[in-house]
């Protein structure tokens, strides 16, 4: 039966304790998103696509918890999370506006075995991300690059505007290297000379991106729930196997 995969040593970890995490550095990605570089003593390592649960505790004991995808590649010396600040959010405004290097919180992870890609897989990989859904997909692309994998990899990213695209320079490097990177902007005016798409993702865009279903790619779709459901539906409509379309929904806004 499909679906009994547990990653080697990582997935075998039976306990998932809450660990102390301290912010070592903060790197702005966009006007509203930041990458937090974390020190987590005892961090067991992770696979590309996994996430962590982050828990904040206030002085009076009040707690709030949210999940964030790991941005850094497996085996990287630092654990990195890229967090988009959601207006009126409970946790993300603290992480993106208030927290400073030296501050900390607790996290639990790595979590996930379904929305995971490993470079040992040799089928083509198709990545479709909406907004901050790019984060786990980037961990996958970073993993691919670091392992020297030459597997056919294609990325379609949907973002509101060019300013909202995380990791722009790195995406350009990957595009120049060996990854088919396409971006579609869905809101407002595209920048002058824009050669990407400028509309919500649709069937044609996905068909054009490929690879064709006959090549049996493994697809990873991540972002806000409506985006993921639409993209996954389109991929299945195009003929991709549902069991090979892995989805991760962030909810209405992904806070």
């Amino acid at each position: 039966m499909e679906g009994t995969a547990v990653l080697g040593g990582l997935g075998a970890a039976p306990r998932l304790p809450w660990r102390d995490a301290t912010i070592r550095a903060i790197r702005p990605e966009t006007p509203s998103a930041k990458t937090l570089v974390l020190d987590v003593p005892g961090w067991p390592g992770h696979a590309a696509g996994q996430h962590v649960d982050v828990r904040l505790t206030a002085e009076d004991g009040y707690q709030a918890q949210r999940s964030y995808s790991i941005a850094s590649r497996p085996g990287s010396p630092d654990l990195e999370l890229t967090v988009e600040g959601i207006e009126d959010g409970e946790v993300s405004p603290y992480l993106t506006e208030d927290a400073l290097p030296g501050d900390g919180f607790e996290l639990r992870g790595p979590i996930g075995g379904y929305f995971v890609w490993d470079a040992s897989r040799d089928e083509p990989v198709l990545l479709v991300g909406g907004g901050s859904g790019l984060v786990p997909l980037m961990a996958m692309l970073r993993h691919r690059r670091a392992t020297g994998s030459t597997v056919d990899a294609r990325l379609l990213l949907s973002a509101r505007a060019i300013e909202d695209v995380f990791y722009r320079e790195e995406l350009e490097e990957l595009a120049a290297d060996s990854v088919d990177v396409r971006i579609t902007l869905t809101r407002g005016e595209a920048p002058p000379g824009w050669s990407g798409f400028a509309r919500r993702i649709d069937r044609d865009m996905l068909a054009d991106l490929g690879p064709p279903p006959a090549e049996r790619p493994r697809a990873y779709v991540c972002g806000p729930t409506p985006f993921v459901e639409e993209a996954a539906r389109l991929l299945v409509e195009l003929g991709h196997e549902p069991a090979r379309v892995h989805t991760e929904r962030f909810g209405p806004t992904g806070d």
């Binding site: 904040l56 206030a58 009040y62 709030a64 409970e90 603290y94 927290a99 919180f105 607790e106």
Partner: protein, 201 residues
């Protein structure tokens, strides 16, 4: 004790007048949407609300008939078991007392049943005497589907999972019959002032 995140407060607000906020609750400026399943969208054409079960002769109202019943506008504080409370929420609806008028209930308990299959149980005494409504407006507007529209049960003196969304009827029962969350670890009665969140509280 968990590591404190310096300066973290979250979105909660102050506690209001002393004694107004039940123990363990926080005031939220939002109206969080919680549910056990997808939002149903029953056509109002065939919609009905039914009082049945241990009540002698049951009765049923169409949507138009429900809206034609004498309604009340009430302002209440509401308290969710997930710890958020919201003060001064305004609702329009029909009192359950009005719906039970003229019936002869011989069951002492009630199961509220809903589109989507959700159920919750309450003592009849907790939905009568001006304590409960079938509400179809919130804050002066038709009740949003995500918040339970077209109509939800409103029982503000208990934790809000008892205020069943998408309610279609009340079934009176002779025995207490635990509903959805009551079967999964949540307190059978749910008094926020006694912090009755879970079994055994």
């Amino acid at each position: 004790m968990a590591r404190i995140s310096r300066g973290f407060r979250g979105r909660r607000r102050g506690a209001g007048e002393p004694g107004r906020l039940p123990p363990g609750q926080y005031i939220t400026p939002d109206f969080p949407v919680l549910s056990a399943g997808p939002t149903p969208h029953p056509p109002l054409q065939g919609w009905s609300f039914t009082i049945g079960g241990a009540v002698g002769e049951g009765r049923s109202w169409s949507w138009e008939e429900l809206l034609a019943l004498p309604a009340e506008i009430v302002t209440k504080d509401i308290h969710c078991v997930t710890k958020w409370s919201k003060f001064d929420t305004t609702w329009k609806g029909v009192s359950v007392d009005t719906l039970l008028e003229g019936t002869e209930p011989w069951g002492e308990y009630v199961v509220a049943w809903c589109d989507g299959g959700y159920t919750t149980n309450l003592p009849l005494a907790d939905v009568t005497g001006g304590k409960a409504w079938v509400a179809y407006e919130y804050d002066g507007e038709p009740l949003d589907p995500e918040h339970g529209g077209p109509a939800r049960l409103l029982v503000p003196h208990l934790y809000f999972w008892k205020s069943a969304k998408w309610v279609r009827g009340l079934n009176l029962t002779a025995e207490d019959e635990p509903g959805f969350w009551e079967n999964y670890g949540y307190h059978n009665y749910g008094d926020p002032w006694k912090e009755q969140r879970y079994w055994g509280d």
